[in-house]
Amino acid sequence: MKSKTADRIATGVFIAIAIIIISILVGLFSYILINGFKYISWDFLTTPSSNIRAGGGIRDQLFNSFYILLITMIIAIPLGIGGGIYMAEYAKPGKVTDIIRSCVEVLSSLPSIVIGMFGLLVFVNTTGWGYTILGGALALTVFNLPVIVRVSEDAILAVPRELKEASLALGITRWHTIKTVILPSAFPSILTGIILAAGRVFGEAAALLFTAGLSTPRLDYANWNPFSPQSPLNIFRPAETLAVHIWSVNTQGLIPDVEEVSNGSAAVLVISVLLFNLLARWIGSLITKKITATK
């Protein structure tokens, strides 16, 4: 009887823990959304931010956030999946693999501020670029790469052995097997992992403070020449992202509507992350359905 009671108490405790975790999230989200949602309007999203007057929006910051994310992903995804393939398929147990695995682990546990400092040293000062989107994206790549490597490695290892063996038995080379058999079936989990990682990149600020800078030049959205300094596509311009904007508005902002702007931006940021998550889930379930249906 006594162990039954203990069991019941323990179950209660675990349920309580689950409730605590959920209520923390619900509390945080409702706080952010309730405080910020009322400031989000089409105007807020489409006007450039102001340095002094009230009524500034977040157009450039929003664009910068997505653009840096895009550049980061263009660099990080091929590298990360390549690394994942290496770890899952080519790496033989031994010293070299051990070293690479340690590198991935070290990279993934590096504090973002350390990555920011490294970025400041290398991408900002040593290269002489100053604060640039590219520097920010490279710093975020360092930050993001281990996540993608791990996700792809796990996904590839989770592909059923029979699939791989059948392909190899047909005399198809390893690389070709990876390209045509393994990667397609590992694709859904890799994609989900990448989208979730994207959410994290989207909200990163500490690494970008030192690499992409705290300001955005005047942008001309009609200018699509990526080499013009006013073009939004130029990767050698400084760019303040949304997360950095929240930080800088709150720290040095002189605009009278600091609270509106930062609450609104926070809400936009959190909603974006929420969308990333929903997207990841949706795509994941869509592809799983497709695959299981064809089976």
């Binding site: 100053g130 300001s215 400084p238 709150n250 720290t251 040095q252 902002g253």
Partner: protein
């Protein structure tokens, strides 16, 4: 207009004309007319790009000036980056930016070849101690202020205020605001430990929320009554008192160039000194026009009449 001697009258005059023409009138007819003038006068000369970096406190001001400057000169691209005074000074002395903004004299920063840099004082910022409104005092003697910040007085009732423990809100060691406040309000005394925040908005928020809190802020943050600015030795922290030199706690905002400013950098700095920027934009942001100062100060902090 005393400082116009330094700048060369013609440039100032040109910049002034251009600017008043472009932005002086609020009516649209005035504006379009002015724009046309600008283009015909300046367009052939002004093009290219200018990068400015430095003090994050100055960034909004310079960026706003740059915005208006670019509106008048569409072929010019001015980038204003923030990274801190140290960063700005480092970058301008390395030559990676043309103008480095700083809220302290270059001489005060270690590792900067101050003799290679030319100082352009573009604005003045006044600051004073601010307390939580519930403390109930509005005036403080300088010696008492020093005692408060060095921890020798720990309760406001010793100064005739409410019976509240004093809570200090400091700035980081390397902050320019802290350097200025320590030098001119505390006469160089080292403040005792307290909460340390870099951001003026956060400092204001903490002072407002914490009973017995005291910190220091630039005048531009005294826009409402959430915090009480203190008069020091009976001198009110007002623009006039700073200008006349009777209120001691103020500092220049500096724009440094490597060697004498030339080309676009010079035009932009002249533009910063134009009456319109000095009297309108600066005021909007809570800075004081450097052109109106009746006293001068050098890197050692010696104050002289102009």
């Amino acid at each position: 207009m005393k400082s116009s001697k330094k700048l060369g009258l013609p440039t100032v005059f040109a910049a002034l004309m251009v600017f008043t023409a472009a932005c002086g009138g609020e009516t649209s007819s005035d504006k379009t007319e002015g724009k046309d003038n600008t283009k015909t006068e300046e367009k052939q000369e002004l093009s290219g790009s200018l990068s400015i970096s430095g003090s994050s406190a100055m960034q909004p001001l310079v960026a706003a000036a740059a915005e208006e400057f670019m509106a008048e000169n569409p072929n010019v691209d001015v980038q204003v980056q923030a990274g801190g005074s140290g960063t700005g000074l480092s970058q301008v002395s390395e030559g990676s930016v043309q103008i480095g903004n700083s809220d302290v004299f270059a001489e005060e920063k270690e590792g900067i070849p101050a003799d290679e840099l030319v100082d352009h004082k573009v604005a003045v910022v006044g600051m004073t101690a601010a307390v939580n409104p519930k403390v109930g005092i509005k005036d403080i003697k300088k010696e008492d202020l020093i005692k408060v910040f060095t921890g020798k007085i720990t309760n406001w009732k010793e100064l005739g205020g409410a019976d509240q423990k004093i809570v200090l809100v400091n700035r980081p060691d390397s902050s320019g605001t802290r350097a200025v406040f320590n030098k001119f309000a505390l006469d160089g005394a080292t403040p005792a430990e307290g909460i340390t925040e870099d951001s003026s908005n956060t400092v204001k928020k903490i002072i407002n929320e914490t009973d017995g809190a005291i910190g220091y802020l630039a005048f531009s943050y005294f826009t409402d009554d959430t915090v009480t600015p203190l008069a020091i030795d009976g001198v009110e922290p007002t623009e006039e008192n700073v200008q006349s030199g009777t209120f001691p706690v103020w500092a220049y905002e500096h724009s440094y160039t490597k060697g004498e400013a030339d080309g676009l950098a010079k035009t932009f700095l002249d533009y910063m000194m134009s009456d319109d920027i000095q009297n309108n934009l600066l005021k909007e942001q809570g800075y004081l026009p450097v052109t109106k100062m009746e006293v001068e100060r050098d890197a050692e902090g010696k104050q002289t009449d102009k």
